[in-house]
């Protein structure tokens, strides 16, 4: 019996629209990826506020301090159990900023504290920063609109 030979060229689908769409999706995700998220510690629930100002651009030099519910501080992915022990890390940050010609008073310290943490611990953390001549603090909250 003789079978008709199929034409293989007819089976090739046109991939152009699919590739176009895929590249569009990749471009979208690449532009929306936020590397600053790396500084956020997920278990910290920020207090809510409707009056807080959204961050205006990127600060000259910023130090992000995460304070969790039990009073541990996270800085650069490092967990410090007691607030008193954070001093060497703050000194390192201040020196790094000074090498870039930025005075400690111009460094923005972003405090991301859990809503149920003790207020005294937040004050203690701020006090540690003040001892290193840091004076510009941004208390970060979740926008509630």
């Amino acid at each position: 019996m003789k079978f008709k030979k199929s034409n293989s060229e007819l089976l090739e689908p046109d991939l152009t629209p699919m590739i176009d769409m895929t590249f569009n999706l990749i471009a979208f995700f690449m532009f929306t990826i936020n590397f600053a998220d790396a500084e956020r510690i997920e278990q910290i629930m920020l207090p809510k506020s409707s009056l807080a100002k959204p961050p205006e651009g990127i600060a000259e030099y910023q130090v992000i301090l995460n304070l969790d519910q039990d009073g541990s501080v996270w800085l650069d992915g490092q967990r410090i159990e007691k607030i008193e022990l954070i001093n060497p890390l703050l000194v390192r940050e201040v020196r790094a900023a000074e090498r870039e010609g930025i005075a400690p008073s111009r460094i923005s310290v972003i405090v991301r504290a859990h809503e149920d943490t003790q207020s005294g611990k937040v004050q203690k953390l701020i006090q540690q920063c003040q001892q290193n001549e840091l004076e510009k603090f941004l208390l970060r909250v979740k926008e509630d609109r």
Partner: protein, 166 residues
């Protein structure tokens, strides 16, 4: 005249399989790492360590409102104590934060235009064990008020804390 042989169109085909594989892997990576982050905002607090230099005689001293936050059952807020030098009040009702805003608003109105007169400053004395959310609520209460039309009326932007109790 005959100009060379006609080119075969099949020779121009590029094998796209490898590229499509990589592109899909990238797409899957981005989809899996995509996170819709909640919007965040800041309260700016400028707090240098207390200066040792005596202030000059010409300098206009700001009006300081002392605000004390006390903690009660379950580390929730129990009362707000206010003292601006002329009167001292204590708020204990559930609308204490609105009362605080009202008080600060009256002091700011009394002092006139902050850019012309001495500025108003708020100093917080907070109970150590108080939940941080109440501290933020108090900072919000002195920072401004949302008007019925949705705009924000700014009140005080100079905020400081007293030294924490041990």
């Amino acid at each position: 005249m005959k100009l060379g042989r006609r080119r075969k169109s099949e020779d121009l085909k590029i094998n796209m399989t490898a590229m499509i594989d990589i592109v899909f892997q990238l797409l899957i990576f981005f989809i899996l790492t995509f996170k819709v982050a909640a919007l965040e905002g800041d309260f700016e607090v400028k707090m240098p360590l207390a200066s040792t230099n005596p202030s000059s005689m010409d300098e206009v001293l700001p009006t300081v409102i002392h605000v004390g936050l006390t903690a009660g059952v379950n580390r929730d807020i129990a009362s707000i104590e206010i003292d601006d030098g002329t009167q001292a009040l204590t708020f204990t009702q559930s609308d204490m934060f609105q009362q605080l805003t009202g008080f600060v608003e009256s002091v700011v109105a009394r002092e006139g235009d902050p850019s012309m007169a001495s500025e108003v400053e708020v100093e917080f004395d907070i109970a150590d064990e108080l939940r941080y959310r109440f501290t933020v609520k108090a900072i919000e209460a002195v920072s401004g008020r949302v008007l019925p039309d949705g705009t924000v009326k700014k009140l005080v932007n100079k905020i400081k804390f007293t030294q924490p109790q041990e």
